[in-house]
Symmetry: D2
Subunit: 238 residues, 4 copies
Amino acid sequence: MIRVTVWNEGRHEKSHAEVAKVYPNGIHNAIAEGLKEAGFTVRTATLDDPEHGLTPEVLADTDVLTWWGHMAHGEVKDEIVERVYKRVMEGMGLIVLHSGHFSKIFKKLMGTTSDLKWREADENERLWIVEPGHPVAEGLPECIDLPKEEMYGEFFDIPAPNALVMVSWFKGGEVFRSGCCYHRGQGRVFYFRPGHETYPTYYNPLIRKVIANAVKWAAPVHGPKIIFGNVKPLEKLG
Amino acid sequence: MIRVTVWNEGRHEKSHAEVAKVYPNGIHNAIAEGLKEAGFTVRTATLDDPEHGLTPEVLADTDVLTWWGHMAHGEVKDEIVERVYKRVMEGMGLIVLHSGHFSKIFKKLMGTTSDLKWREADENERLWIVEPGHPVAEGLPECIDLPKEEMYGEFFDIPAPNALVMVSWFKGGEVFRSGCCYHRGQGRVFYFRPGHETYPTYYNPLIRKVIANAVKWAAPVHGPKIIFGNVKPLEKLG
Amino acid sequence: MIRVTVWNEGRHEKSHAEVAKVYPNGIHNAIAEGLKEAGFTVRTATLDDPEHGLTPEVLADTDVLTWWGHMAHGEVKDEIVERVYKRVMEGMGLIVLHSGHFSKIFKKLMGTTSDLKWREADENERLWIVEPGHPVAEGLPECIDLPKEEMYGEFFDIPAPNALVMVSWFKGGEVFRSGCCYHRGQGRVFYFRPGHETYPTYYNPLIRKVIANAVKWAAPVHGPKIIFGNVKPLEKLG
Amino acid sequence: MIRVTVWNEGRHEKSHAEVAKVYPNGIHNAIAEGLKEAGFTVRTATLDDPEHGLTPEVLADTDVLTWWGHMAHGEVKDEIVERVYKRVMEGMGLIVLHSGHFSKIFKKLMGTTSDLKWREADENERLWIVEPGHPVAEGLPECIDLPKEEMYGEFFDIPAPNALVMVSWFKGGEVFRSGCCYHRGQGRVFYFRPGHETYPTYYNPLIRKVIANAVKWAAPVHGPKIIFGNVKPLEKLG
């Protein structure tokens, strides 16, 4: 049973009435609900919890962490970022959602600015599958239509993903690499674009399916125990 | 339950006593045995079966096909190659083993010559894991030692794999990209280097583990049903 | 001085008045004109030339070949396809344009069906640069607007490119990976989407710039002379 | 004319007599000498220069920066690392050499620990070219033999490179991805393994050729001027 921790900044829901209306229990609980339905063991954690809810114990008990943040990236403590990073290096999966592209942990894992174009204009988005044989595409249609979303446009300053699974079309004329798979250390990272706080995106069954697929894909593999540092030769030298 | 068809040319075992001694039931049965132990539903097929054992019915009932061939690549009928190719395009997994690098199906899927250096000198091979978070590395040690194998050396004329999971070291001074993952169409392809017919490589538990991992990884994903050809606009034009 | 051979099927221009009107000297001469302006040594060749204009001598004297074909892919002789393929394996660059996605040579190099969605509806296309540090992006704006083009839509059945440089947006709601770089053998291949025969796309200075950049990028590198086959050990065995 | 800045920590040469003997003018001057011979405009800079020799003016005047460091990675000021990083994002090339794998700038650009195995045992290394059509392989033989080098072994904790050009074989039984190309932001990064301070590696003409090739490959492309942030729609909405 894959153990998922759904992390949410959780501030918009407190400060913006329109967000609270869409996500009365917080974005995290909408995401967690979808993951529970998919059969995972799910807990939630938010910025305002002690240690942001990401204690060493919680992370040790987490196979895959999902991350939503936006207005308070700067308040996430460096020490906690480092803790999450170490767990990814060891094999924990990480699903970074929407405005999480500017989170400290995502920028640290990418090694780029992760900057982009954006616009809030209630326009529609279509996410096209461009790697239909990838596990993240399991059970999906050829494209997912979202009637209203924030626009994110290229150039998205990320390293080319190890696998590009989805590309978004926006009514206003832009495209975006919106489903991006990475290997980092022994862990796997998936960036998934949709999910602006004023739209009910995380209730959408297809969006939930993508996140559930990504969790399965990113779950730890339990590969070799790695030895780093000084080693003896395996063959006779000289 | 993943359904595997283990395909083997099956000629060396008939014509070469030393190979028959190592693989008295054929290379296919040694591979099949390992896959059965791993819990898959397994059948075998060989070159000399009618339609090489790869009828439309067999392929329709196959999630992942493994392929070993060497001295009779040219005898594999183009029609059967085309049939296997179409199934890969639709999502069937394909595991190409050792000298299968020169099979018609592998060359067709790669788009390159898949040529390489080789030497038979009873030297040892070490397969190092270079992507430990990849599903093909599950449960493996950092490196697999094979006391005697045929050498394959770079340049190996393949497209850079979507994921490079293993690199081999050979006593005689060469290296080789020996565990290579590809997406082709909706299917996934894994090339795995070891397995010369005169060595008991396919009885090695770690080699069997790699093949079992590759089968799991390459099993069909059941992604979107793809529409090709002429389509209507999804948005109003003009 | 990079030597380019511009290959064109050259049939639409003869049989369709509207195409002849746009390209009175043939698509090849419009492409060649742009490449000459960019300073390359350019010749042209067409399907109806002896040996399709691609004699061993011409190919031996070609650093980069550009390929436009559409209605007569089936008439290209397998022997000539094989000849071009061998030159790519040896290091010749190949730029495949628009409907060339269904050419024998492109399918052979990709190992996939290279199928896609399409529509002729005079809609606009925007090509967005998604890898701005790539040589193919040199001197380009962030996106190229084409007021009217044929639509090509995903899923485009190609292997994920080694570098994805451009993604297209279409008015009707689709996206497409429209600038795709590949290594095959010792050669490099660039697929570039635009260029339907009824539109003046190959007169567009930015489209010409992309093709010129691609020619520079795909020009042969003169790397190591590769030895294939049986080799002696470089180190003492046993 | 490509402008190269050769950066060196420059401490081993001062503190270790055996290193000073091999590189009496410092590792930087040995590298610079090779690059001057290749026709580049070259300057050098070291850790103990003011601002480590990497003032805004120097970086603005640098197309490609090469980086050698080992015992004093921690002394490189974060402010200078940030300055170099910004220039890479804007398009400056970066060549990271040998023990530079543990430099702050390389770890920041990779998003991983960049840890590895190592051993100092005077063993020989063979660097095999695995992407012979890549510009970094221009003019090289199939493999480069170094009679004595430090060993670096897998797992090397880096993201899979955009192009893997070289893989090393070591006498003691290990392999290593030793020539790795990355796109980061609008810049390009090349990691090149050899160059332990006690061996005359940077006088080797083939090693110099690799570094010169890498400099050419990593030189800025002058692609599109990128706009980030809030943008207006390009198409009429609603």
